[in-house]
């Protein structure tokens, strides 16, 4: 048996890498991917807990999260397309009309 805490630490590491990715990446799409990575990390935690407790609700949550991620992806990519059309660039640092 793999201890639950292993899964949790892995999930934390993935979550942290997502944060790092968000901060580090410049391309809007990859930044969004970093968010997806974070959501995946959460899913892992849910499933791990679910298994540990012997309750299925954790898995239900994962399904919800995946749906939400899908919805976010649709809207997010729509926004990215909009941005790309307006700026001809996907670099998030170049999108800074609104500031100060």
């Amino acid at each position: 048996m793999v201890p639950t805490s292993y899964y949790l630490v892995l999930s934390a590491i993935l979550f942290g890498l997502g944060v790092v990715g968000f901060v580090f990446k410049r391309n809007v799409i990859t930044i969004f991917m970093a968010i997806e990575l974070m959501l995946n990390a959460v899913n892992l935690a849910f499933v791990a807990f679910s298994q540990s407790f012997g309750k299925l609700d954790g898995q239900v949550f994962v399904l919800f999260v995946i749906v939400v991620a899908a919805a976010e992806a649709a809207v997010g990519l729509g926004i990215i397309i909009l941005i790309a059309r307006q700026r001809q660039s996907l670099n998030v640092e170049r999108v800074d009309l609104l500031k100060l």
Binding site: A12, G16, L37, S52, G54, L56, A71
Partner: protein, 167 residues
């Protein structure tokens, strides 16, 4: 070391490597592919945890549908290599250490946290689990489930509104 543990470590390593690759890759396509690797690794872990249904959904919906959407958009926009600008002073100077610190903090806290004892009923879920999953989803959580339908409606609507060409 039990085989499960070995598989766990392999998959974990794969997932972390995928995540690192996602971060380090310059081309978005590579990042996307790396993310798919992560997802697949996670699907493997789900199997290891006995959550077959989730693992399947992970592969089909996540890796299959969502990531395809990503790649589609990358292609559509013809996104090239990432431009590593450093226009944000604070992100350049402190971004990485702080993000690492945050992740490390969370990981360390979790690693040191005493966990609740595993439930005595913590039997592997088995095949019956998908059915009970359905019961849970359509009875106990029917409200959020229905709500997600509107969420998807909104997503469609949003994508439509945002991405449609100027009339």
């Amino acid at each position: 070391m039990s085989p499960q543990l070995i598989i766990f470590f392999l998959l974990a390593a794969l997932a972390v490597a995928g995540a690192l690759s996602l971060i380090l890759a310059r081309h978005p396509i590579r990042s996307a592919l790396s993310l798919i690797v992560v997802m697949v690794a996670l699907a493997g872990l789900y199997l290891l945890l006995g959550a077959e249904f989730v693992a399947a959904v992970q592969i089909i919906v996540y890796a299959g549908a969502i990531m395809v959407l990503f790649i589609f958009v990358i292609m559509l926009l013809n996104a090239g290599e990432e431009e590593r600008t450093n226009l944000s002073r604070i992100a350049t100077m402190a971004g990485l250490p702080l993000a690492v610190a945050l992740g490390g903090f969370i990981a360390a806290a979790i690693a040191r946290a005493p966990l609740l004892p595993p439930s005595s009923a913590a039997a592997p879920f088995g095949a019956a689990s998908t059915k009970s999953l359905a019961t849970l989803l359509f009875r106990d959580f029917v409200f959020p489930f229905e709500l997600t339908s509107f969420l998807i409606l909104v997503a469609i609507l949003g994508a439509l509104v945002l991405a449609q060409r100027e009339s």
